[in-house]
Subunit: 229 residues, 2 copies
C-alpha cells in the first residue's frame, strides 16, 4: 500500500501525516508500540531513512518517543500542537479565507467603536504603508499587516486582536510568497493605497457598511490572486 497514489515531493511529510492520522485517529492509543522501522518502510513503500525522519518529526511534535533497542512508542494522541504551527501547515487560501471572514466583521466593529487614539494609529499606519510601498517586499508586507492589525485593534476586542496576531505570521509568509510569485506590486503601481485610504476614512467617519465593503473588496481580490497561484 504505497501511500495511495500520492506523488508530490516530500515523501517524508506524506509518511508523517499517515502516521499522525493513525495516532490522532485512535488506531494507536497511548502506549502502543509502533511497528518496526523496517516494517513501516515496507508498509508505506518508502525507504527506512524516510520512515526514520517521519518518526523524528512526530517525536519533535511530542507524539512519539523512541527507545533504542526497544521500539517507538506513542506518548500522546493530541498534538499538544500549538495553533501557529497548525496555521503554518494549513493551505494559505484557507488561512486567508478565515482572515477575511474575521477582518471584514472587525472593520464593522471598528467603524462603530473606534476611539480618537485608534484614528491616530490608523492614520500613522496608513502613512507607513504608503512609505513602505517603495521598500522591499518583506517590509511592505509588514507595513500592510500592521495597518490591518490597527484596523482590527480599533474594534476594541482583545480576543480579536490576539486572534489576528496569531494569524499574522502565516499571513506574512503567504503574502511574501505571493507578491514574489505574481509580481503583484509591479502590476499595481498604486500598491492598494487608495483602497486602504478609503478603508481608514470609512472607519474614521464611522461608516460601518462602507468600511466592511471596501475591506471585503480588497481582501477578495487578494484571495483571488492566491487561488490563482
Amino acid at each position: 500500500m504505497p501511500l495511495g497514489t500520492l506523488r508530490p515531493s516530500p515523501l517524508v511529510e506524506q509518511a508523517t501525516e499517515h502516521l499522525r492520522e493513525q495516532i490522532t485517529g485512535g488506531h494507536w492509543p497511548v502506549g502502543t508500540k509502533l511497528p518496526g522501522e523496517n516494517a513501516l518502510a515496507a508498509t508505506l513503500g518508502v525507504g527506512r531513512s524516510t520512515v526514520r525522519e517521519a518518526l523524528r518529526a512526530l517525536a519533535g511534535a511530542g507524539l512519539v518517543q523512541a527507545r533504542q533497542g526497544s521500539g517507538v512508542f506513542v506518548v500522546a494522541t493530541e498534538p499538544a500542537e500549538d495553533w501557529s504551527a497548525r496555521l503554518r501547515r494549513a493551505a494559505v487560501t484557507d488561512v486567508y479565507e478565515v482572515r477575511m471572514m474575521v477582518e471584514v466583521q472587525a472593520a464593522r466593529l471598528a467603524a462603530a467603536r473606534r476611539t480618537d487614539a485608534d484614528v491616530t494609529a490608523l492614520a500613522a499606519a496608513l502613512d507607513a504603508r504608503r512609505a513602505a510601498g517603495r521598500g522591499d517586499d518583506a517590509a511592505f508586507v509588514d507595513a500592510d499587516i500592521a495597518l490591518h492589525a490597527a484596523v482590527v485593534a480599533a474594534a476594541g476586542n482583545p480576543v480579536l486582536t490576539d486572534l489576528f496576531a496569531e494569524f499574522a505570521p502565516a499571513l506574512r509568509q503567504g503574502l511574501i510568497d505571493l507578491v514574489d510569485l505574481l509580481a503583484l506590486r509591479e502590476n499595481d503601481p498604486d500598491h492598494g493605497d487608495e483602497a486602504h485610504a478609503a478603508l481608514v476614512d470609512a472607519i474614521t467617519r464611522g461608516d460601518v457598511d462602507e468600511a466592511s465593503a471596501v475591506l471585503e473588496a480588497e481582501l477578495q481580490q487578494t484571495l483571488a490572486y492566491l487561488h490563482r497561484a
Copy 2:
C-alpha cells in the same frame, strides 16, 4: 567541535538541542537560512542522516521549515504560547463576540458548500441537541456546541474548524455559567430548538442569507444575555 565530549546515547537529540539553542537563543532569527546539511554535519561532527533527523525534529516542533533545492529556514523562535489559556483569561463577552463574527460567516459558507455528509451530520447533531434538552446543563451545552461545530465543519475550511475547536472549551464554560446563572432553560422551554432547526434547514437548502440571519439572531440573543450577566 564534535559536540564537546558528550557520549551518551542519542546523538540526534544532542544535535537537535544544539540547533534549537541557536534558534531560541537568537543567533538564528526568523528567516535565517541554516547552513547546509553537509556543513552542519561537519560542524557538529556527526553524519548527514543524523543532521537530517535533527532538522526533522525541529520541523516537527514547528521551528524550521525545509524548502527543497533552497535550504532550511527558521520560521519561529519559540514554540509559541498557549492560545487556549489566553482565551480562558479573556472576558466571555469578547470571546462570544468573536465567535459570533466567525460563525455567522461560517454559516454562509456552510450553506454554499455543504456536502451530503455534512447534511447528515447536521441532522444527527440537531437530534442530539433536542434529546439533550432534557439532560443536565453540561450535557445540553455540549450538544449545543457540537451542533454549532457541525455547522462550522460544513463550511469545509480546516482552519475554520480548528479555530472553532479552539474556542469550544472557553465557550462551554461560559455557557454553562450562563444557563446556571440566569436559569435560561426554564424560561425557554423550547431550548432554542426551533431556531436551530431553521438554521440546519437553511444550510441544507443552501439558503446563504437565511442561514446567516437565523444564526446571527440566535447568537445575538445569547450575547445579550451574557452582557446582562
